[in-house]
Symmetry: C2
Subunit: 229 residues, 2 copies
């Protein structure tokens, strides 16, 4: 009974509409020269802590903003706002992922030309967000050292839809006997050549390399878009 | 563009079909006197470790079996089989949750009269499984001490659809500065009166209380069903 042909067909249409909206977003981001980065992970992988640290570190040199998706509560937006970046919460209700149209609506009232980086934190879910393009230039998949080394093998679709993997909570790696070699092997098995960062938002470990990557990526992005800015 | 009326309507039909299948399962479980318990959580909350410990501890006194859902791999079934319980893997492909029909199919070839407990481990997902009744008598929602204390507020639907909450990985609670009072307060805010256990599959902490609860629940279940067994 799992998703009969009619449901599949209707879902395909929804995805097609999403792709159209995502393409329009991608063009807007390019025109404005803003690098859009989305974050996906299971609930509790430390997306918000990681993003708060990112915003705080970038804030001194760049114009940064974030959209954050949750089924309920605006706790995350409140946390992220401590970084002093521009932040907006997207409440999805019962929808288990962000869609391009939700991003579009949330951006209303913001001038993209005033931004260097836009971060989009998806709902905590390692399955459904993989199908929805949000117009982002980069998609990061996060997994924490506490989650079990076989996550990439068990959730291959989300790893395939992402560009970069970030291993979070490295400060407690020893306490949970995290096997870094195994998780890296599993990431490469699913997505050969995938870039992997290992960070701790708490101690700051690994954040410098990751920020360096982000800034380089933004330079390439702007050079390719040739934005006169 | 999020899920137009037609998608909602079709989804309702799928859910209706699922409810019919779930009801049939529930009757089969009652007739056979087998207590069916499902587990939901985000990926990486320690469902499989918790279930392996449960099966191992129950195995000496009861006839136990488990179904385990994953998008890909049969890693979990292999892990659970170490407990010597009867185990079957359900591979869902791209489907982000188990459905009653998948459970029905997986049970083929098993005689429920030969079982005391049947555990059903859902796909790691804190959103979508909440809508799908699997015919279980008890639904446990797990959250680990590493996940952040506001999970119940951010994923209220899954907490509402569950009967019991289990806080896992208590052995690393101190290392991650877990705030037990806060998480319990948040659980009660979303689902007043919900029973909460705190366990470590690694050290065994809290497993005795939880197993006591399971066994008592099974006695009540069998008394209510009046199964001559």
């Amino acid at each position: 009974m799992s998703a009969g042909p009619r449901l599949v067909e209707v879902r395909k249409n929804v995805l097609k509409q999403n792709d159209v909206a995502a393409r329009a977003l991608r063009e807007r981001f390019r025109d404005a020269g803003v690098l859009a980065v989305s974050l996906v992970s299971s609930p509790g992988s430390g997306k918000t802590a990681f993003l708060e640290k990112t915003l705080t570190l970038l804030y001194t040199r760049y114009r940064v903003a974030a959209l954050v998706g949750d089924l309920a509560t605006d706790n995350d937006a409140a946390r992220l706002a401590r970084s002093r970046a521009l932040v907006k919460q997207i409440i999805t209700g019962t929808v288990c992922h962000l869609e391009a149209a939700m991003v579009q609506n949330a951006l209303e009232g913001w001038n993209l030309n005033d931004l260097d980086f836009l971060f989009i934190e998806n709902v905590g879910n390692l399955v459904c967000p993989s199908s929805y393009d949000l117009g982002e230039d980069l998609r990061f998949v996060l997994l924490s050292v506490t989650e079990g080394e076989d996550k990439p093998l068990k959730y291959p679709t989300i790893f395939n839809s992402a560009d970069v993997a970030v291993i979070t909570k490295s400060d407690i790696a020893a306490a949970v006997e995290f096997d870094e070699a195994a998780v890296k092997r599993n990431i490469q098995a699913v997505r050969p050549g995938m870039e992997v960062f290992k960070v701790s938002a708490k101690t700051g470990e690994g954040m410098a390399e990751y920020l360096e990557f982000l800034q380089t990526r933004r330079q390439h992005f702007r050079a390719a878009a040739a934005v006169p800015k």
